[in-house]
């Protein structure tokens, strides 16, 4: 089966993943009799690939976090296990695996055991929707962004459950803070993404990326793009419970907040989920505002643009995401923590009105098609047609 070719510019480089996908699809079709078996095999393969990717990613992020922290603090970070400590995450995981699983005597066992799973799954599922490259996206879905927003807000359920079921007052305080904080900041984050959706005219991540061919929304949408990007960065940092919004863990106040009582792999799941969340929000931010896997194109600089096109799309994507992840880590090792009432005041009295304002301005701009860098071809209609796409697993 010919892979559905994304209608991209001919100069666009997408050789790397298209080929892989088409070879895989051909092999599967040759060896499996029924079309639904092919689909099932694809689902299993995608899940395995994502699970592998997620765990390696979390390890890399842990290592990077420790190194970044180290260099911010005028020390070296892990240096002992392997050259420059690159095997430190493996040692860390082994340590976590070898730890004793502790369940407090008075804990609500079912919920206590379920909570880390819930948080982890919520983050993990979101990974499937992220467009790493033109055809490297496990689930392509016409309302992908909406779905990701919905799934990712399930993570807070896990945190609330963990805090409540631990039967520890510190954990409960942390969980209550989490509930208030994450639900509040989700509004701003969603509104900010909505601005991107208004400009892109689609909820499909793939379409959102393609809408940025003429320029990334962060600068193509006049000023609003930049403001929205900043709002989303702030709100998403709060959603991930990262400093300066880490009052949920608040180690100096609540010992460890909602996961005080957790140990071993259950703790590791919260830990992994936090790092995956950082990656996911950065990926969404890169996709919606920074053009996803789109290469950077500068006006009439043909030579530079050609060179940028030669860089594979997934490198562009991971480059952008890494930069955003670094910024989030930078926050963490620079800022102190806000107090709970200041945090809420900031969201409800400043960030959310600002998000609404940008949304209104964005709607006006999108309706009047007022963009910087007007594309050579006529502007895309505001509503994405997408008539031929089946709703799920389109690109496999």
């Amino acid at each position: 089966m010919a892979v559905e070719a994304a209608p991209l510019k001919q100069s666009m480089n997408n050789y790397d993943t298209n080929e892989l996908v088409s070879v895989l699809t051909a092999k599967l079709q040759a060896s499996l009799p029924e079309p639904w078996l092919v689909d099932a095999a694809k689902i299993v393969l995608a899940a395995i690939a994502l699970a592998g990717f997620a765990s390696v990613l979390a390890m890399i992020l842990v290592y990077v976090e420790r190194k970044v922290a180290g260099h911010f603090q005028q020390r070296l970070g892990p240096m002992r296990v392997g050259p420059h400590g690159i095997f430190q995450p493996i040692a860390d995981s082994l340590k976590l695996l070898a730890k004793e699983e502790i369940t407090p005597r008075d804990a609500d066992r079912l919920i206590y055991n379920l909570a880390p799973l819930l948080t982890f799954v919520a983050s993990f599922v979101c990974m499937g929707f992220i467009p790493f490259a033109p055809n490297l996206q496990a689930v392509r879905f016409n309302v992908g962004l909406l779905f990701v927003l919905g799934i990712s807000s399930m993570g807070v359920l896990g945190i609330l459950a963990a805090g409540w079921s631990s039967n520890n007052k510190w954990s409960l305080l942390g969980a209550m803070r989490a509930g208030a904080q994450i639900i509040s900041y989700e509004l701003s984050a969603a509104l900010a993404l909505l601005v991107g959706v208004i400009f892109a005219g689609s909820l499909d991540f793939h379409e959102i990326v393609k809408s940025q061919e003429a320029g990334w929304w962060i600068w193509r949408a006049p000023v609003v793009g930049l403001v929205t990007f900043i709002i989303y960065t702030i709100a998403s940092t709060a959603e991930c419970n990262r400093t300066p919004f880490d009052i949920v863990e608040g180690e100096s106040e609540l010992t460890a907040g909602f996961h005080t009582e957790y140990s071993s792999m259950k703790f590791a799941m919260f830990f992994l989920a936090e790092f995956l969340n950082v990656f996911i929000v950065s990926a969404i931010s890169a996709t919606v505002f920074l053009g996803g896997w789109m290469p950077l194109h500068i006006g009439n600089w043909e030579a530079a643009n050609r060179i940028f096109d030669m860089i594979p799309a997934w490198i562009w994507f991971f480059g952008k995401v890494s930069a955003l992840v670094f910024v989030v880590m930078w926050f963490r090792w620079t800022f102190p923590r806000l107090r709970v009432d200041q945090l809420m005041r900031f969201e409800w009295k400043f960030l959310m009105p600002a998000s609404f304002a940008t949304l209104a301005v964005a709607a006006i701009l999108a309706a009047s098609q007022t963009y910087f860098f007007a594309p050579e071809r006529p502007a895309a209609p505001p509503v994405a047609p997408a008539p031929t796409k089946p709703p799920i697993l389109a690109n496999k």
Binding site: Q74, E253, T334, F335, P336, V340, D341, Q342
Partner: protein
Amino acid sequence: MNAPVPVESPVADTYQDYFINMGPQHPSTHGVLRLVVKLAGETVLGVSPHMGYVHRGIEKMGEAQTAMQFTHLTSRLDYLSAHMNNWAWAMVVEQALGVQVPERAEYLRVIMSELTRISSHQLWWGVFGMDLGAFTPFLYAFRDREKVNDIFEKTCGTRLTMNYIVPGGVMEDADADFEKDTRAFLEYFKPLIEEYEQLLSGNIIVQERTKGVAVLPPELAKSYGVTGPTLRASGVDYDVRKNHPYGVYPRLSFQTALATEGDSWARYKVRLEEMRQSIKIISQALDQMPKSGPVRAKLPAVLRIPPGRYLSRVETARGELAIFLVGDGKPLPYRVKIRSPNFSNLSAFPAIIKGWRVADIVTAMSTFDLVIPDIDR
């Protein structure tokens, strides 16, 4: 913006209040202090400190040891002000025995004490950042504190409990590089206070978290016997080094760091200013110090405390430390009483924290700069 919730207000009554134990094992009590906190949601209705987890009976041990032996225990009172504690004890014994301390020893005492004050405030600054949730200042502070510790290690052999200042003078003369090292440290550290300011003071979150929070009014502070930077931040100009001068402090010119607001921010600024003043004191003392000479007066082999009552007081990094000594002519003191600054400072804390949030307990207590072994003794 920053204002406490009135605890008698209906807001507090609509919740069912509950108690929570902060400590004895808690990352922000900085030791084994236990605070029983009464909360309504996140609002603090009351705090009652429970002490005694590191009570070692140091005062009683003082009655079972000779004056020279007890010097080593005083280092363990407030381990971040070890030199000052030693000095307080040395001074009260010298007062009892009528010993004149050699001049070089007096200067060494001042320099060591002020270095201790700097290193103590460095540690406080780092920990304060950590209590606010910023981990990086902690490591910056420790980087610089290492330099002070190196100076101590070269001269005293130890880095924390120095036992350097003893009755009659100091234990040994300073090592050959002492003056050079200390001057080098002062040069190194002077610009770094500005770095400290940049890293924390200018941060809007730090200011929001501290300005106007947990205000300690001067009358309340005086009535609880609060001393040290905590008192001076409330606008009360009381510094033992100025009001009851000891050692060679009268010969050195410095200002007491003062602020009037009495909130966490004022306490923060006062401590940063004290570091600058300590640098001034040390460089003056280094200039005036005799380059050589005896550092320890001749003392009798057995120190019999003559009958009578003796009192010494010094300004440690946390406030006024007073040691009261009663002798009855025997080698062992009849009674040793230690007035620790931290105990009085902590006693004022529950009065000012009502109506603030859980997170404010941590920041406000951090600006009180408590050392728990000094409270329990």
